[in-house]
């Protein structure tokens, strides 16, 4: 990436040069002070050692002034320069292809207020061993959260570059633990999920790319894990048979969008979250602009996605741009596919945001592993939480509204669809009675979305995406092979 009027390579070479000079400044100061002191002794008071006040101040006493103070100030400036460069051109390639951050946004920002940063650092440290009283720690962690939220991006970067891992980790644990004593009604701890999500999103939207790994390591809820998913534990998606060996986090090599939101191109990938992807695809098909408007890339390269929480409150969930990638470096879970190739990443960020915010997982899945706690347990904040669930659970997170049941009736579904509502529908848990001409397209225990109607038949799309044939059914076949149709409402 090159920028007009900014040469990142040159700016970084300035930072390296400043560190080099800073490292030499201490010894140079000592040599200078020593030679002046020695000269003073050798002169024996016959004349002033020096006529230069700055040099005169160096004779004896503790080192102060130039050049010694460069030993601290130049590396500090170099750190600040590198942090600013990271914001427009991260060294670890953390940006999505096509990401452009206006360097003027970064280099026109004010210098960090060190006193403000130190207050926040002290507050984080002060949580260690603090007596929170009978009313719990919520007021205490809220006060620290406020200090963090008041930092400018430059100040946040400075804080994150200075804060001890232990202090940040402790804060992360405290805000994430909302448990209280049952006998004490006033024992309020941690930050409520929505408030915690807002704080994490606020920090992620402002921190420089070089500091994202620190946030992810110390604050639970920044990065959704995938190691509790069935597909990771099994090494394969049991429905599609696609291998998940080599799954890892990384920045994908495709941009957010190439040709806008195209519902047909969305492919579920190897994660078992058809119940979410079907809602996403159905909504994208009905109102592509609604979906496109619900995702944005921030000035520091993070991605924010609009999601409603379980209480119907809207959040912009901010995420780092890395995603679960397969062994070939391709996006492993949701993405857009065109011509057999992954072309866009936007579905993956919708899915990632949903994984971070979904709070209705009840554990368990009809996968025959009900007695294995590694697979079937309640989860929140990771990809494991969004594997397997019920048809009506995802839409409120996508549209902000609960779904309405529709009778299992071809005409009712057609009426809902044609009045602009996205519609999703479940298949049965077995393939009994599936006619031969539908066997290639019909998938059991799956959620499909209505794509349209033609020649008296309903066309149902598979969230697996391109390459998976549509299920085209007559009214009778629809009634016989599907269940639980749901009408979504967008933007009402």
């Amino acid at each position: 990436m090159s920028y007009t009027g900014f040469d990142v390579g040159k700016i970084r070479s300035l930072a390296r040069e400043l560190r080099k000079v800073g490292a030499a400044a201490g010894p140079l100061h000592r040599d200078l002070a020593k030679v002046l002191t020695d000269a003073e002794a050798a002169l024996g008071g016959a004349q002033p050692t020096t006529s230069q006040p700055l040099l005169d101040a160096m004779r004896g006493g503790p080192p102060k002034g130039l050049p010694g103070d460069l030993a601290a100030s130049l590396p500090s400036t170099a750190g600040e320069i590198d942090r600013r460069c990271d914001r427009i051109s991260p060294q670890n390639g953390a940006f999505l292809p096509g990401t452009v951050v206006d360097p003027m946004v970064v280099f026109s920002r004010d210098e960090p207020d060190e006193a403000k940063v130190n207050r926040a650092l002290d507050a984080l440290k002060g949580l260690n061993g603090k007596d929170f009283g009978v009313n719990g720690n919520r007021d205490d962690v809220r006060a620290v959260a406020k200090l963090l939220e008041e930092l400018t991006p430059a100040e946040l970067d400075l804080l994150l570059s200075k804060v001890a891992d232990g202090d940040l980790k402790r804060f992360g644990e405290l805000i994430g633990d909302t448990g209280g004593h049952w006998y004490n009604l006033f024992d309020e701890n941690g930050l409520p999920e929505g408030e915690r999500r807002e704080l994490l999103s606020h920090l992620l939207e402002r921190a420089g790319p070089g500091l994202w790994p620190k946030l992810a390591a110390d604050l639970p809820g920044v990065q959704p894990g995938f190691d509790t998913t069935d597909v990771f534990l099994d090494g394969v998606n049991s429905q599609s048979g696609v291998s998940t060996t080599g799954l890892r986090n990384g920045v994908p090599n495709v941009p957010l969008f190439t040709d806008g939101v195209q519902a047909d191109e969305v492919a579920q990938g190897t994660l078992g979250d058809c119940w979410y992807i079907a809602s996403l695809k159905a909504t994208a098909a009905a109102d592509p602009k609604f979906i496109q408007d619900g995702i944005r890339q921030n000035a520091n390269g993070t991605i924010s996605v609009r999601v409603w929480d379980k209480d119907g409150k809207l959040h912009w969930v901010t995420m780092t741009p890395d995603l679960p990638l397969d062994a070939n470096g391709e996006i492993a879970f949701a993405r857009s596919v065109n011509g057999g190739k992954t072309t866009e990443s936007w579905p993956a960020y919708y899915e990632k945001a949903f994984a971070l915010l979904y709070a209705d997982d009840s554990g368990g899945a009809p996968d025959g592993k009900g007695d294995d706690d590694r697979y079937d347990r309640e989860e929140q904040g990771d990809y494991g939480a969004i594997e397997w669930d019920y048809t009506d659970k995802a839409p409120p997170y996508v549209t902000g509204h609960d779904t309405d049941d529709i009778d299992l009736d071809y005409t009712d579904v057609k009426t809902a669809f044609e009045s602009g509502h996205p519609v999703i529908v479940s298949s049965h848990s077995n393939a009994d009675g599936v006619p031969a001409h539908l066997k290639a397209a019909y998938v059991t225990r799956h959620v499909f979305y209505v794509k349209g109607f033609k020649d008296g038949k309903m066309i149902l799309g598979n969230p697996w995406g391109p390459g998976s044939p549509d299920v085209v059914v007559t009214p009778d076949e629809f009634k016989k092979l599907f269940e639980d149709p749901q009408k979504l409402s967008v933007g009402k």
Binding site: K10, E17, L28, E111
Partner: protein, 106 residues
């Protein structure tokens, strides 16, 4: 005859002259490092199209100010070293004079 006033011995005067010459040599070496030590940084910071904006201006301004300070210190140090050499010459002449006087007094 032994002089009433204590006079520094020729050896002491020559030792101090030697030390001053040595200090002058070291001071020049330090000045050679001190004066240009921020030149490269300032050269990068002020290069065309390197960077722009408030932070770039502030940082470049601070570096240039320190560069001027360091150059001033180095220049003064070179001047001081010259003065020390002059003083060393004087001490040596003084040592010769004291030595001559001492001989004449015996």
């Amino acid at each position: 005859m032994i002089p009433d006033d204590p006079v520094e011995s020729p050896e002491s005067l020559r030792r101090r002259a030697h030390e001053l010459r040595e200090c002058a040599r070291r001071a020049r070496a330090v000045a050679e490092s001190l004066g240009p030590c921020l030149d490269q940084a300032v050269s990068i910071a002020t290069a065309k199209d390197a960077w722009q904006g408030w932070y770039a201006q502030e940082t470049t301004g601070r570096l240039s100010e320190r560069q001027r300070g360091l150059r001033g210190m180095a220049s003064a140090l070179m001047s001081d070293a010259g003065a020390w050499l002059t003083e060393a010459d004087k001490l040596e002449r003084q040592a010769d004079q004291v030595a001559k006087t001492a001989k004449a007094g015996k």
